[in-house]
Subunit: 746 residues, 2 copies
Amino acid sequence: MQKMDYFVQREVLDELRLDEVAQKGTWSTKPTLGERVKESLRCSVPRLKHTAQSWVPVLGWLPHYSIRENAIGDLISGCSVGIMHLPQGMAYALLASLRPVFGLYTSLYPVLIYFIFGTSRHISIGTFAVISIMIGSVTERIAPDSNFIVNGTNGTDIVNVDDRDAFRVQIACSLTVLAGIFQILLGVVRFGFVVTYLSEPLVRGYTTGSACHVCVSQLKYLFGVTPSRFTGPLSLIYTLVDICRLLPQTKVPELVVSLVALSVLIVVKELNACYRQKLPLPIPIELIVIIAATIITHFCGLTSKYSIDVVGEIPSGLKAPRAPDTTLFSQVIGDAFAVAIVGYAINISLGKTFALKHGYKVDSNQELVALGLSNTVGGFFQCYSVTSSLSRSLVQESTGGKTQVAGVISSVIVLITVLKIGALFEDLPKAVLSTIVFVNLKGMFKQFMDIPELWRTNKVDLLVWLVTFTSTILLNLDLGLAVSIGFSMLTFIFRTQLPRYAILGHVSGTDLYLDTDSYREAKEIPGIKIFRSSTTIYYTNAEMYLEALQEKSGIEIGKLLTAKKKRDAELKRKQEKEKKKEKKKAKKQIQGNGPALSLTETSTNSLSKGQVNWAYQHDKTMLDSDSDTGCPGDGSINQESHYGDDVEGWACGSGTHSIILDISTTSFVDTVTVNTLKNIFRDFEEIDLDIYLAGCQACVVEQLETAGFFSESIPKSRLFVTVHDAVLHILKKRGQTDFILVRSSL
Amino acid sequence: MQKMDYFVQREVLDELRLDEVAQKGTWSTKPTLGERVKESLRCSVPRLKHTAQSWVPVLGWLPHYSIRENAIGDLISGCSVGIMHLPQGMAYALLASLRPVFGLYTSLYPVLIYFIFGTSRHISIGTFAVISIMIGSVTERIAPDSNFIVNGTNGTDIVNVDDRDAFRVQIACSLTVLAGIFQILLGVVRFGFVVTYLSEPLVRGYTTGSACHVCVSQLKYLFGVTPSRFTGPLSLIYTLVDICRLLPQTKVPELVVSLVALSVLIVVKELNACYRQKLPLPIPIELIVIIAATIITHFCGLTSKYSIDVVGEIPSGLKAPRAPDTTLFSQVIGDAFAVAIVGYAINISLGKTFALKHGYKVDSNQELVALGLSNTVGGFFQCYSVTSSLSRSLVQESTGGKTQVAGVISSVIVLITVLKIGALFEDLPKAVLSTIVFVNLKGMFKQFMDIPELWRTNKVDLLVWLVTFTSTILLNLDLGLAVSIGFSMLTFIFRTQLPRYAILGHVSGTDLYLDTDSYREAKEIPGIKIFRSSTTIYYTNAEMYLEALQEKSGIEIGKLLTAKKKRDAELKRKQEKEKKKEKKKAKKQIQGNGPALSLTETSTNSLSKGQVNWAYQHDKTMLDSDSDTGCPGDGSINQESHYGDDVEGWACGSGTHSIILDISTTSFVDTVTVNTLKNIFRDFEEIDLDIYLAGCQACVVEQLETAGFFSESIPKSRLFVTVHDAVLHILKKRGQTDFILVRSSL
């Protein structure tokens, strides 16, 4: 009996709850305009300071900079990163099809801007392979060699390299400024969330695909061949085929230089990795190789003897800022958007990793603004698009860098190089720079190990990885990214389109209701079907929901509706007949009682028992469920047996009298869902099945209310907090309360 | 005490359950290959018959056709529909920029094919406004008037209408065949579900947008002007502007004819609607208007007097089938796909409506095949693409049509017209056909009423409606559809990206846990935070989940981790110091006990109390949660008080010791989610918070297992069926079982 009280209490709670939702929902979420204005005025002064600091974070931390704690770490780390900037800057500039010096500029200005506006303390902004190759694909597309061919002195066609390179810089700068503007805009409108569309498998597949592009683009320097330039889809494949075709023309000296540099780099990098714990700083092998290669090439005269391709003139000093060529914007707008998104994605993922490790917060929108400003300002100073590089950031963090002061110090080193030392690198073979690119791709190629890993853990994500990789390879970096994001979203939609539908059963002795297919202990309650979809119901799967409900519960609503209509028609016909008979009789007999009443009574007697019961109970059910306060009297057991009889007789073969839809997994409702649910209520009530909803989330109840779901025929009393409450309500209504009680006392 | 037993029982159940999932899951879903082969052999003969019937449904129902029951209804309905086919066919052919006779062909052949392969008994296949305008936009794009200009006799440029129309027919047929092939392919690979992407608001917005296109395209006939032809985005706007510009050149006679026909049609249609109940058949006013207009035009010589534009030559008899021009396929492939999808969407939605009303089943994949075959075969006979028309289907159903035999009868009527009567309509003014199109658009323009309706019920769906409508208007029917589908999918993704996060509280006296923000009665249990997202966790919102968890629970994991690291470092330093001291001491003293043991004991004593407790309890917690069988002894109360102390002391200001993640709304997990959950477990355990998962669906548990989520540090015992079980487990472990018991006995 105590148990009973408990449940009564819960039903009362339900009603309380429903009223409260509306009240509290409105009240707690929406302060009036007046309140908001007051509130905003009250805290405007400290907020101003806070706003300034949130837009220009350097104001927040630099005044409190503790020289004692941070200076040494930042200095060492800044020097290490600065030393890394030199070879990487020059090598990646080649990837972007620019002269090496522009890679150095890119390692200089944007770092200073990021120092002012950035919120991450450990990432190292600058050149990065993936972004560089994206820039390279644009510069080579818009300014191919073939556009700059002039007639040489001896009749052969030669490329006007100076013009070409000048134009390419313009293209890269325009693209960079545009990408920066995109990033700033996205940051200002707080659209930092777009990066969440780049899921981990997608980013890893994409970077692996980009690494392949980088590789192929550098092969020409390695072998010293000059393949044709291809653009558009499949260009990677064409280039590769062309390089294979040209292999017999390999310049052996370049290959030798490459192989020597490559082996030195690999060996020392492995040593670095092995002795990471013991070395205070990693050996700056890239710088050493560059210096050594330059010295050897210069003093052994390799350029003249073997005509090895070298970096060429490196202008000393800085260049005056120049506005980007806005006429190019329309040609690079798509690429700029891709660069903006990819650059930001790489940046924020690294930033968040370090932030979590060191316990500070990275503001994703401010990062977007900071990166955008770095690009925009950088674009004016002949830099190309930047993001944080994994290798440099790791060095910056591991060598003790505490703040972005390390970045400033690294810039100083790059600045010195550009101003004084740069010109010394003129004899550096391009092949050596290529090997540096190759070696830095190791981490990205390691990502191929994702494939067996994902095969074991998550096949859908493997599919995303593979589709991303393949589309990046085949459709290049911009279109490939768009296709991948689209596909990734589609996988989510497919997953919600293929939910598992289950009939839930009661686990004896508990108030648990579990999938009867998966759990042996879950037993269906006779006459009650509890139906659940594993995912939210929305327009793509609403129809399937209805179908699955019919299939799983074994109730074919269409057939039953037709059968019922026929029966109704028959009943009507019979009644009409009876009426006529009755009238005839009445005419013959003495007229005493009200004719209508006697008519009904007589006709009821003359009909088969099942049909009367049904007609009677139909009204009864409706009445019961609408008022929901009726307490079943002593006659309820009697009534219940009636139900059992005629329901099993014809209504639906399975003897089901109630259906509970557990919609706890539904997180919102759209019009299609509301209509589907309405139809379910209408059609199933038509064939005398009671429908109940259980487990609605508060927000779903609100949305159902707004959508006008509840009405006379679908009263709110059909809603229950849990499946168990609905079951108890049904059993109580049908006088079967002993069922659960007996079970749970076992 | 009985209550306690109950909960113990439930925990045991959990473990049982988890093992069973794997076993039963594998066993029940995958029969061995042998079993499947046997099974398929055993039922191959009846299955063959069944297969034939499912691919050619006419074999299933025609042999059982009851002439007594159906023949009269089908005959009347067939005649009514046939009479409607004539004006609609001719009018819609104009929409498709084809000669009217091709509309009649389209009302003839496809209906016969659908009779054989279709599964719906009530829909009327044939011409339809939306599809016609889609075809029209293609024919006018590929074969504009300007391509067929020849020099007239008197020096002016005239259009070679015959050549143009012949080419347009070729285009329409190619498109139709291609669309049919798409539909057949989609049907064969059972891709009928693609239509679910066309949600109701989308379809209604789209058809309303198409209706505007139809309207604008017919205005020229109404006013008798000839605007320039525009293609591509915004063509609707340009055309409208051009028509306005040409308004002063309106041919008054055409306008008069249009207005008269329009007013007659509207009045009689309204009468039809009013007296629907009383009229046995609707008045075939369209046919009457056509006949009357033809007669008047012919006998009053309107053509010669006022140069009214008439239909022109209508060839009698049928044309031999001709293969479509496959060279056009590449130009129409996008449009063909759009036509295939839109045609199917309209068809299936009507079919399903009637099927539900009359209690039979429409097979969505077979419908796709049937429609595809109707189009493909029709395309060979100079038909253009078909779908079911709402107006005709309603007439077919309401006049008593029971089967597709009605369709065959309607074809016969069309056939007679084409063979014998067609030529009589040569003097029919095109303006009259336009008015028929206009009048038939009424239903679609009524859909503008969706806007206020959706504003009240569902603003997101209103947005879908508006975006679909606008993009259809601005970007035309093909591109507009693609944009709308994309946007519709994005709304779903946005909705799952903006979930409501809630801290759940316990409702006293129940085992319910509800959102503390929405429900006043829900009270948080001290020390336990129960966190829930309203929607599934996946890659786009996984990060937000982590952020919301920190914000809602007030636990800033980054700061706490840093604090802990500092403390650890300090602790280590102190211990090292102690060690050194100890060693010095030990050297001085006599060496008796094991040095390590004494060392630890001493150092423990010398440390502050809080830190020791923490270190001790950290291990203890881990141990507890891993084994999960340990029964807290008498000392548990004592221990519990320790927890309380030091947790409130420093671990997290709020005094939280456990977090329960209610993931009952999650319907699948991807890699990003698994990693996020892993990180939550790792980081929160690090600062000594116990994490539990509650309410996992069976499929989610399976996916977590596959993804290797469970490990030494995240044992399966952290999973609970319900939040209540997890809470009881925590309270029991901490010796607070009285909390719930006391509350529930109140």
